[in-house]
């Protein structure tokens, strides 16, 4: 190749259209913030975001219909991105979750309206000191932070890239692109801003810390294999590199580089997934962040991160399966057990759900550990089921409010079932799905991952998982007891009647929960078809 001549990269625009649409829309969103008048921003942002996400979803569906989830799967972007079954399936979930989250973000009937019109659950002026003069003025003026929408879109864009990432560079970039907007979103709560900011700081510092580890791991893998591309590394791990260079020959023998590097990259991803012992940010951040953000984050981040983790384990590191499998066994067991056990004594709904998400990370991990096609598709299905339940649950949390905003302390939920039987019933449905009771999506998902694990001979994991489920059931049930069997308190919270936006979120989540529980076959087929990584 002539050094002066740059080869124009060959970009598969169509195959990458979903993420491109989202990123494009995000940029438009930023432009709207910059140029549109304050009043017009909200409708414009909502419309752009919703349209972009819906459009991207349509693109994903189109790509899948094209067969790119199966036989037509391809490596795109000069080998940097993979458009294959798992990627498209997870992108589909992320986009749907993102779309639904837009509805949650856009909800403006929960908070008392300011002078400028109705407001949402995000800070009037994030930069203002909590309780200060500036904030009071902003509140009075009814200011809102419409920047949340482009931030959401950027995060979604990063998440779309994450499971597609087919080299370590993209992996890192995608991680940061999805993380940075989330750090900011966490800090934007309208009420309890100190908590919100604290959550952001913690999330940010720990997230950065984790990504530093990830990066160092990437570095070592690069050092080991001399390439950043997944396929290239996999080849080297398997002992048959495409080109044998002298430098490679010396590093290839150094297994420590591979092992430590692999472990550190895995650790970075486990942090995003929220697996023990990298889970400690989860409760604090889930609790402090604005609830719509928590819902979005809990659902979508987990999906994206598991996508990336799966690809890493299945495409890059299958050669060293015997090294990481036992270790991840340990992580999975620790997550299931610790998540379930610690959740028993939680008193805050959001923290409770955070611990529950940790336990679920363990369940999903046990499916991932099957290292089989069944394992992949079971994880895909589980993620689909789990993300909607989570989103629905957090959507319900936004509706239970008292004078101080959302009433997240469990004691305030006493007797909710008597005041608002329907809402409480829906929440109970979500809890039952979390607990994995049959006829809910949670059960089908749990069955799928456990079956995959058992099929792969990991019966021990299944048994621990089952026992952890039993422990976990206890605290889900405790909430149900509280809602239905306790007398409502006189000063208890009330359920605000939301706009159709939130209602549609809750409704959709409930519907998905039931459908995936009762008639999951179609979705299982989808997940099965999408179970193969392209290499």
């Amino acid at each position: 190749m002539n050094p002066g001549e740059l080869e124009a990269p060959d970009i598969e625009w169509v195959a990458l259209s979903p993420s491109l649409i989202v990123f494009g829309a995000a940029v438009i969103g930023v432009l709207i913030e910059a140029f549109a008048p304050r009043r017009a921003r909200y409708p414009a942002e909502v419309a752009v975001s919703a349209l972009a996400l819906a459009g991207a979803f349509a693109a994903v569906v189109g790509l899948a219909a094209d067969g790119r989830a199966g036989s037509e799967a391809q490596i795109a972007g000069m080998g940097a991105l993979a458009v294959d079954g798992p990627a498209l399936f997870l992108q589909g979930i992320i986009l749907l979750v993102g779309l639904v989250s837009v509805f949650l973000f856009a909800e403006r009937r929960l908070e008392p309206a300011g002078h400028g019109g109705p407001v949402d659950s995000f800070a009037a002026q994030p930069a203002a000191v909590p309780g200060g003069q500036a904030e009071r003025e902003a509140v009075r003026a009814g200011h809102t932070t419409t920047e949340i929408f482009p931030l959401l879109l950027f995060a979604v864009g990063g998440m779309l890239l994450f499971p597609m990432a087919n080299d370590l560079l993209v992996l890192f970039i995608a991680l940061e692109v999805l993380s940075l907007p989330l750090y900011l979103l966490c800090a934007l709560a309208r009420r309890r801003r100190l908590l919100s900011q604290e959550a952001a700081v913690k999330y940010f510092l720990l997230g950065a810390f984790a990504s530093a580890f990830l990066l160092f791991g990437i570095t070592m893998l690069y050092g080991y294999a001399g390439t950043l591309s997944y396929a290239g590394i996999a080849d080297v791990v398997a002992g048959r590199p495409a080109v044998m260079e002298p430098g490679l020959a010396s590093t290839m023998g150094n297994d420590a580089l591979l092992l430590i590097g692999g472990a550190m990259v895995t650790m970075g991803l486990l942090f995003k997934v929220g697996a023990v012992p990298f889970h400690m940010w989860t409760p604090d951040v889930y609790q402090g962040a604005p609830t719509p953000v928590t819902g979005f984050m809990a659902a979508a981040t987990k999906v994206a991160a598991f996508g990336a983790l799966l690809r890493l384990l299945y495409v890059v590191l299958p050669g060293m399966r015997w090294d990481w499998e036992p270790v991840l066994w340990g992580v999975a067991i620790a997550s299931m057990v610790a998540g379930a056990v610690i959740a028993i004594t939680q008193t805050d709904v959001k923290r409770l759900l955070a611990y529950s998400s940790i336990a679920h990370a363990g369940f999903i991990l046990s499916g991932a550990l099957a290292v089989s096609e069944d394992g992949v598709s079971s994880v895909l299905f589980y993620l689909a089921a789990y993300s909607f339940v989570t989103l629905g649950a957090f959507a319900v949390v936004t509706l239970v409010r008292d004078a101080g905003g959302e009433a997240t302390h469990l004691s305030k939920w006493a007797g909710l079932g008597r005041r608002s039987p329907l809402l409480a019933a829906v929440f109970a449905l979500f809890l039952l799905a979390f607990a994995g009771i049959p006829l809910t999506s949670g059960f089908a998902g749990k069955f799928a991952v456990f079956r995959a694990a058992a099929d792969a001979g990991a019966m021990g994991l299944v048994i621990v998982g089952v026992l952890a489920s039993a422990i976990a059931a206890f605290f889900y049930i405790r909430v149900i007891v509280l809602m239905f069997f306790s007398e409502p308190k006189a000063d208890g919270p009330s359920v605000v009647i939301p706009s159709p936006l939130t209602m549609s979120v809750v409704g959709l989540a409930a519907a998905v929960t039931v459908v995936l529980g009762v008639a999951p076959q179609y979705f299982l087929d989808l997940a099965n078809d999408a179970g193969v990584f392209v290499r």
Binding site: V201, K202, L205, L206, F209, A210, F213, D255, A256, L259, I260, G262, A263, M264, T266, M267, F271, V276, P277, F278, M280, W281, P283, D284, W322, D323, W324, P326, V327, G330, V331, A338, V341, I342, A343, I344, T345, Q346, I471, F474
Partner: protein
């Protein structure tokens, strides 16, 4: 003709159902309806009897298969009846005495507002008892067996508002249940041994089974018989059962139900014949009970309880006779029938007395009643003479035959048995005379009842006296009738078999000896109660007397051996269940809670400690990965 058997059993059962379901509407006619149905049964029984008499000895069996009851694989339990000479005898006794006592109860219960129920229960009892004796297999017999137990429970506890009655009823049922275990196990053994529990195949096939098995079956049957017939060691319920209305005591706890044990053993004769060890135990139980009952009967001041002791003792005779095998079966049944008459007569008499004395039962408060209640006195007196074995009255024949059979056992055993029975006969004469004297002779010792009413003894109404008179006739003439030409013996022989024992002591000698000890007994009682006035308050008495008053400490024993430890056991188990079994579960839950509480402390809110956890985790992850490679 066979179909009449179903009707025979069905009539009283129908009566019970009608009276219970019919409710208050039937209050006014219920008792007559019940009596009529009982009488119907009696008439049917008579018809069947004449039919049987028309046949030859071996042909005198009727079978009626109603329907298949519980068919499972090889197990066939049918609702089917078998009427042979043995059951016929019982049927006649039950329906005749039963009808009489129905009639008697009309008068006796006239003022009880729950009379309809009483008659329903009586009918229920009749039906169950008939089922018991007519069943052609042990399982159906068991149904009747428990059915009479239920009726007995309901009737003993008829005055449920009295705690003592309720307790007595419960006690009777439960003690009987202990016996029922025996019957259950016997049936189970029969099934595993013979593959069936119908009389014919089991009894015909008995010789084919091992002696050990048969002994087992026999002992289990004996356990059942002990429960139902109040034999030692399951005798304790009978005395308390006297809490029931007196007609009940007469019918169930004297004439019919308590003799079911004797029926069972006689019916299962083939099994016992092949299991001599079991027979020996039967004999021992009979002998012990015979003395036990007699001793208790001597000490009781409560007229009904004294009679109950007597019942126990007399059934002891029967049991002993049945244990002797074919030598004794016939006489056991014969004594059973005669006993049915005279003991029912005695109880009805006692009822009549109580009726007259404001339900007073303490004989020390009776005295001199013969002038006030002549009919009762005469009928009671005749029955009295029959039971003590006054020559040529019914008891004389049946009891002497049993004593003779006892001697016929031969050897030392024969002498012991004969001696025991003669001693029993003396005691019988003693306690019966004591009752007679305390009740009808001597001074008035009447006292006002709890409400301050002075008793005004009067003769009972006709409905009550007629049955007493009829039974008195039976007491006097039954034995003579049976003994003439050995009619009864020949009648039963095809079923029970018959052997004439070879006794070292002749028939005549036995008769003389029995009469002699009777005279001694009567004289003893007369010396104690006839010559001098009876104290209104019982003297403290000697140790034996005091023990006998307390039923020879049977309740104390049961209490110490079963009730108290049982209570402790239950209480201990309740505690254990709560603390240990449940505690283990709750403890597990709590320990998870504790673990959770401790683990969540790790989440201390400091970002730096979270970072430490991550750092440590990463280190661990790396170390573990490296370790895996090293391994």
């Amino acid at each position: 003709m066979e179909s009449l058997i179903g009707l025979l059993v069905g009539a009283p059962l129908l009566g019970a159902a009608l009276l219970l379901v019919g409710g208050r509407r039937l209050d006014r006619v219920g008792h007559w309806l019940a009596t009529a149905l009982a009488a119907t049964s009696f008439v049917l029984a008579a018809v069947l009897f004449s039919d049987l008499l028309d046949r030859e000895g071996e042909e005198r069996v009727l079978h009626e298969h109603l329907f298949s009851w519980v068919p499972v694989a090889d197990l066939r339990a049918d609702v089917a009846f078998q009427l042979d000479q043995l059951s016929m005898t019982f049927v006649l006794l039950i329906t005749s005495v039963g009808t009489l006592i129905h009639l008697y109860s009309i008068g006796y219960m006239a003022h009880d507002e729950r009379r309809r129920r009483f008659f329903a229960y009586l009918n229920l009892f009749l039906g169950a008892m008939l089922l018991l004796v007519l069943a052609d297999n042990y399982l159906l017999l068991y149904v009747g067996w428990e059915g009479v137990g239920l009726a007995s429970f309901l009737l003993i506890g008829f005055w449920q508002h009295k705690p003592s009655a309720a307790t007595a009823a419960k006690k009777a049922f439960i003690v009987n249940r202990v016996g029922d275990i025996g019957l259950s196990i016997a049936i189970l053994l029969m099934f595993t041994t013979f593959g069936t529990f119908a009389f014919e195949p089991v009894l015909d096939g008995a010789t084919g089974a091992s002696e050990a098995t048969l002994t087992g079956i026999g002992l289990m049957l004996l356990l059942a018989a002990c429960g139902k017939s109040a034999q030692v060691p399951l005798q304790s319920w009978l005395g308390d059962a006297m809490e029931g209305p007196t007609p009940v005591s007469a019918l169930i706890h004297a004439a019919t139900m308590v003799t079911a044990g004797v029926y069972l053993i006689t019916r299962s004769g083939a099994i016992f014949d092949a299991a001599p060890d079991a027979q020996t135990v039967v004999v021992v139980v009979g002998a012990v009970t015979l003395l036990f009952g007699a001793i208790v009967g001597c000490a009781k001041d409560d007229i009904k309880k004294a009679l109950a002791g007597s019942t126990m003792s007399q059934i002891g005779y029967m049991m002993l006779a049945a244990g002797l095998g074919p030598v004794g079966y016939v006489f056991a049944i014969m004594h059973l029938v005669t006993h049915g008459f005279f003991k029912a007569g005695l109880f009805l008499g006692a009822g009549s007395v109580m009726h007259a004395m404001n339900d007073e039962v303490d004989m020390r408060r009776y005295g001199g009643l013969r002038r006030h209640m002549p009919v009762t006195f005469v009928t009671f007196g005749l029955a009295y003479l029959a039971i003590i074995g006054f020559p040529y009255l019914s008891g004389f024949f049946s009891k002497d035959e049993i004593i003779y059979a006892g001697f016929a056992k031969g050897g030392t055993e024969g002498w012991i048995l004969g001696g025991v029975m003669l001693l029993g006969a003396a005691l019988t004469a003693y306690y019966m005379t004591r009752i007679m004297l305390m009740t009808f002779f001597g001074e008035k010792r009447w006292q006002p009842d709890a409400h301050g009413h002075e008793p005004h003894p009067h003769e009972a109404p006709l409905t009550m006296t007629i049955p007493m008179i009829v039974l008195a006739f039976g007491s006097v003439f039954a034995g003579f009738l049976f003994d003439s030409g050995e009619a009864f013996v020949h009648w039963l022989e095809p079923v029970t078999g018959l052997e004439h024992g070879d006794s070292p002591v002749g028939h005549g000698t036995v008769g003389l000896a029995a009469t002699a000890v009777m005279v001694v007994g009567v004289a003893g009682a007369w010396f104690q109660y006839g010559r001098r006035p009876v104290p209104a308050v019982a003297p403290t008495g000697r140790l034996l007397t005091r023990a006998a008053r307390r039923d020879l400490l049977q309740d104390d024993f049961n209490h110490a051996a079963f009730v108290t430890p049982g209570n402790y056991l239950t209480r201990g188990l309740v505690y254990l269940d709560h603390k240990l079994v449940d505690g283990l579960v709750n403890g597990t839950a709590a320990s998870f809670g504790g673990l959770s509480g401790r683990l969540r402390r790790v989440q201390n809110g400091f970002a730096r400690s979270y970072a430490v956890s991550m750092f440590g985790g990463a280190a661990l992850l790396i170390a573990a990965t490296l370790l895996m490679r090293a391994v």
